[in-house]
C-alpha cells in the first residue's frame, strides 16, 4: 500500500528530475569511492614495465601475475603477511572473549562490584596517559620486541564492552534466571547461554577488533621496528609509502630508475605498492559487507549510549 501511494506521490516532473540527479550524484559518489581501488587493482595486475608508459586506469592492459608472484617470493613481505594474519586471529579471539566476559559481569544487576568496575572502565575512555608513559610502561614490562605487545595492551576495548553490555541487557531476563535455577553458575551461564545469544553483538565487535588488528602499524613502528621478524604487512606498506614520499616526488622517475637498474623483467615501486595495497585491503573487502546489518546496529547502540 505504501508502495502505490509513494508512486502516485512522486510522479511529478520536478520529482523525476530530483530522482535522476540524485541517482547520478550517487553514481558519482560510488565512482570516487571505488575508482582508486580499481586503479590499484589494474596496476597490480598489469605488467610493471608497461605501467611506466602510463594510461592504466580501471583495467589492466597487459595481464600478469608477476607482481603477486614477486611479492610472495619476497620472504620479508610473505612473513609480514603471516604475522598480520596471526595477530588478527589471536588478537580478535582473545579480545572479544575477554571483553564479552567483562561485559557480562557488569550486566549482572546483582553484582556488588558492578558500579565500581563500570566506572573504572569508562573513565579510561576519557583519560589516557599518552604516548610516552605508555611506551615506558611497555618497556618496563619487557614487552618490546615481542609478539604479545600486539595482543595484551588491547585485550579490553571499553567501547566494545559497552556495545556488548547493552546487548546482553536487552536479552530476556527469564533465560538467565532459568539457567540459574537449573544450577548453572555464572561462568557456565556466560559460556553456554550468553555467548551464543550475543552473536550479533560479538560479530560487530569482532569486525572492529579484526579491522583494528589487521590495519595496525603504529605499534609495530613503536615497539618492534628493530625486530623484522615481527613486522606486519601494513608496516611494510607504510615503509614503502615513506620512501616513495621522500625519495622521488614523481613515482614515474623512481620506476624508470628501477627498470633501468634491474633489466626488463623487474617490478617497479609503483606496481609493488599497488599490489601490496590490494593485498592489504582484500581481506577487509571480502568480510565487511556480510557483517553490515550487525555493525550498523552496533554503531547506533554505541552512539546513543556512548
Amino acid at each position: 500500500m505504501k508502495e502505490s501511494s509513494a508512486k502516485a506521490r512522486y510522479n511529478s516532473i520536478p520529482d523525476k528530475i530530483f530522482d535522476i540527479s540524485n541517482i547520478v550524484f550517487m553514481l558519482l559518489v560510488v565512482t570516487i569511492t571505488l575508482y582508486p581501488f580499481l586503479n590499484m587493482f589494474a596496476l597490480s595486475f598489469n605488467d610493471a614495465n608497461d605501467s611506466i608508459r602510463g594510461g592504466i586506469y580501471a583495467w589492466p592492459r597487459m595481464w600478469t601475475w608477476d607482481n603477486y608472484r614477486y611479492i610472495f617470493n619476497e620472504a620479508s613481505i610473505y612473513h609480514a603477511t603471516l604475522i598480520s594474519a596471526l595477530r588478527t586471529i589471536i588478537g580478535t579471539i582473545t579480545s572479544v572473549f575477554c571483553t564479552a566476559m567483562l561485559a557480562y559481569t557488569i550486566s549482572r544487576q546483582e553484582y556488588v562490584l558492578r558500579k565500581f568496575v563500570t566506572v573504572i572502565a569508562i573513565f579510561t575512555m576519557y583519560f589516557s596517559g599518552g604516548l610516552i608513559p605508555g611506551y615506558l610502561l611497555i618497556k618496563e614490562l619487557h614487552m618490546i620486541n615481542s609478539f604479545w605487545v600486539y595482543i595484551i595492551p588491547g585485550i579490553i576495548g571499553v567501547f566494545n564492552m559497552i556495545v556488548i553490555r547493552s546487548f546482553i541487557e536487552g536479552l530476556p531476563d527469564g533465560i538467565m534466571e532459568s539457567a540459574k535455577i537449573d544450577g548453572a553458575g555464572d561462568f557456565i551461564t556466560f559460556m553456554r547461554i550468553v555467548l551464543p545469544l550475543t552473536v550479533p553483538a560479538l560479530a560487530t565487535v569482532s569486525l572492529f577488533v579484526a579491522v583494528y588488528q589487521w590495519n595496525s602499524w603504529f605499534d609495530v613502528f613503536l615497539y618492534n621496528s628493530s625486530h623484522l621478524n615481527l613486522s606486519t604487512l601494513q608496516y611494510e606498506l607504510m615503509k614503502i609509502l615513506q620512501t616513495s614520499n621522500t625519495a622521488a616526488s614523481s613515482t614515474n622517475a623512481g620506476d624508470q630508475f628501477a627498470a633501468g637498474q634491474s633489466g626488463v623483467t623487474a617490478v617497479t615501486p609503483t606496481s609493488i605498492r599497488a599490489t601490496m595495497t590490494i593485498i592489504a585491503s582484500l581481506p577487509i573487502i571480502m568480510v565487511y559487507p556480510f557483517l553490515q546489518k550487525y555493525f550498523v546496529k552496533g554503531m547506533t547502540v554505541g552512539g546513543v549510549k556512548g
Binding site: Y10, Y35, L137
Partner: protein, 322 residues
C-alpha cells in the same frame, strides 16, 4: 536468584547498619565467580590505563631513561614554561585546531547531505549497494588510504590528468608538496574515508521521524525539497546538536595517521599537529619530559572541553529532546 532475594530485604533488618561491610563480603563471597571473571581485567585496566597516568610525573622531571624511574630529578613546571615559550608549539597547536575544525565542519555537512540524499533514493537495492560501497574506505587502513591518495595526487596521477583534460591547469601540480594545499587535501581525504560511515547515525535518526508528517506535508502540497527542509532536517536537529557539541569536545583530536602519512618535509609547517609533536620530541629526540608535558596538556584540555560539552549537551538535551 539467591543474591537477588538478599539484596532488598536485608537493608530493613536491624542488624544491617552494624554489619554493612560484613554483608558486602558475604555477597562478594557468593559472587566469587563474577569476581574471578572481572578482577583480572580490572587489574589489566589499572596496569595499562591507570599506571600510565602516573607517568605524567615525568613532565615535572628532567627525565633520563638511563636512570631508574625513582631517581629522576624534579624540575617543577620548567617543561611547561619551555613548551609555552616555544614558537613551534603554537604553530602545532594552530595546525591541530584548524585541521580538526575543518574535519568537524566538512565531516558534518557532507555526512548529513549524503544521509538525506540516500534516504530520498527510492530504489532500495540501489540504495543498499551505495551504502555498502560508501562504508568501504572506513574499514581500510590509513596506510592504504594514504597510498591511494598519494598516487591519485601524484604528478601523473588521476587528479592532475583530469584537471589537465578539463583545461583547468596547464601543467601537473605537486599537490602534496605545497603546504597551503595540505589542510584542504587532509579534509577531503577524511571526507572520502569516513563520509559513508558517518551517515549511519543520521540514517538511523531519520527512520525515527514519524511518516505521517511526510504525508501531511504531501497533502499540504509541499514538494521534495520543502519536505527535506521542513521535516527531515528538523527531525535530525537534536542528533546534530548533540553530536556537534560532543565533537567540539574533541577539538584537540585532529588525528595522527593521516598527517603523519601524508605530510612530508615540504608541508611540515602545516601538517604537524600535537600528536606528531609528541612523537617527534619523545621518540625521535628522546626528550620524554617535554613530550609528556605536551601530551598531558592535550589530555587535560580535551577533558575540560569534553566535560563542558557534556554538560551543555545534557542541558540542551533536557530542554529540547524531551
Amino acid at each position: 536468584m539467591e543474591n537477588l532475594q538478599q539484596a532488598t530485604p536485608v537493608v530493613k533488618s536491624p542488624r544491617a547498619n552494624g554489619s554493612r561491610l560484613q554483608l558486602f563480603f558475604t555477597k562478594l563471597l557468593h559472587q566469587k565467580t563474577l569476581v574471578f571473571m572481572s578482577m583480572p581485567f580490572v587489574l589489566w585496566l589499572f596496569l595499562f590505563k591507570y599506571v600510565p597516568l602516573w607517568g605524567w610525573t615525568i613532565s615535572f622531571q628532567k627525565f633520563r631513561p638511563a636512570k631508574g624511574l625513582f631517581d629522576q630529578e624534579w624540575v617543577g613546571w620548567k617543561n611547561f614554561h619551555f613548551l609555552f615559550s616555544d614558537d613551534s608549539f603554537y604553530r602545532v597547536l594552530r595546525n591541530t585546531i584548524v585541521m580538526s575544525s575543518i574535519n568537524l565542519v566538512l565531516g558534518f555537512v557532507t555526512a548529513i547531505v549524503l544521509a538525506i540524499l540516500l534516504n530520498e533514493l527510492r530504489q532500495i537495492m540501489f540504495k543498499r549497494v551505495v551504502q555498502t560501497i560508501s562504508y568501504l574506505p572506513h574499514f581500510i587502513s590509513w596506510v592504504v588510504a594514504a597510498n591511494i591518495i598519494s598516487s591519485a595526487l601524484a604528478p601523473e596521477g588521476i587528479v592532475n590528468i583530469l584537471l589537465t583534460k578539463m583545461h583547468l591547469i596547464d601543467q601537473p601540480i605537486l599537490w602534496l608538496g605545497k603546504g597551503n594545499y595540505f589542510w584542504g587535501i587532509l579534509g577531503a581525504s577524511e571526507v572520502w574515508k569516513n563520509v559513508g560511515w558517518n551517515t549511519i547515525i543520521y540514517l538511523a535518526a531519520i527512520t525515527t521521524i514519524d511518516p505521517s508528517q511526510y504525508e501531511a506535508a504531501e497533502i499540504d502540497g509541499a514538494n521534495r525539497l520543502q519536505r527535506i527542509l521542513h521535516i527531515t532536517l528538523p527531525g535530525l536537529k537534536s542528533v546534530i546538536v548533540i553530536l556537534l557539541i560532543m565533537n567540539l569536545g574533541n577539538i584537540l583530536e585532529s588525528g595522527f595517521e593521516p598527517q603523519y602519512l601524508l605530510g612530508n618535509g615540504m608541508t611540515v609547517d602545516y601538517s604537524e599537529n600535537l600528536d606528531i609533536f609528541v612523537l617527534k620530541y619523545g621518540m625521535n629526540m628522546g626528550n620524554y619530559s617535554l613530550a609528556t608535558a605536551a601530551g598531558m596538556f592535550k589530555t587535560v584540555v580535551s577533558f575540560i572541553f569534553l566535560l563542558s560539552a557534556n554538560s551543555i549537551a545534557k542541558r540542551l538535551g533536557e530542554s529540547r529532546l524531551f
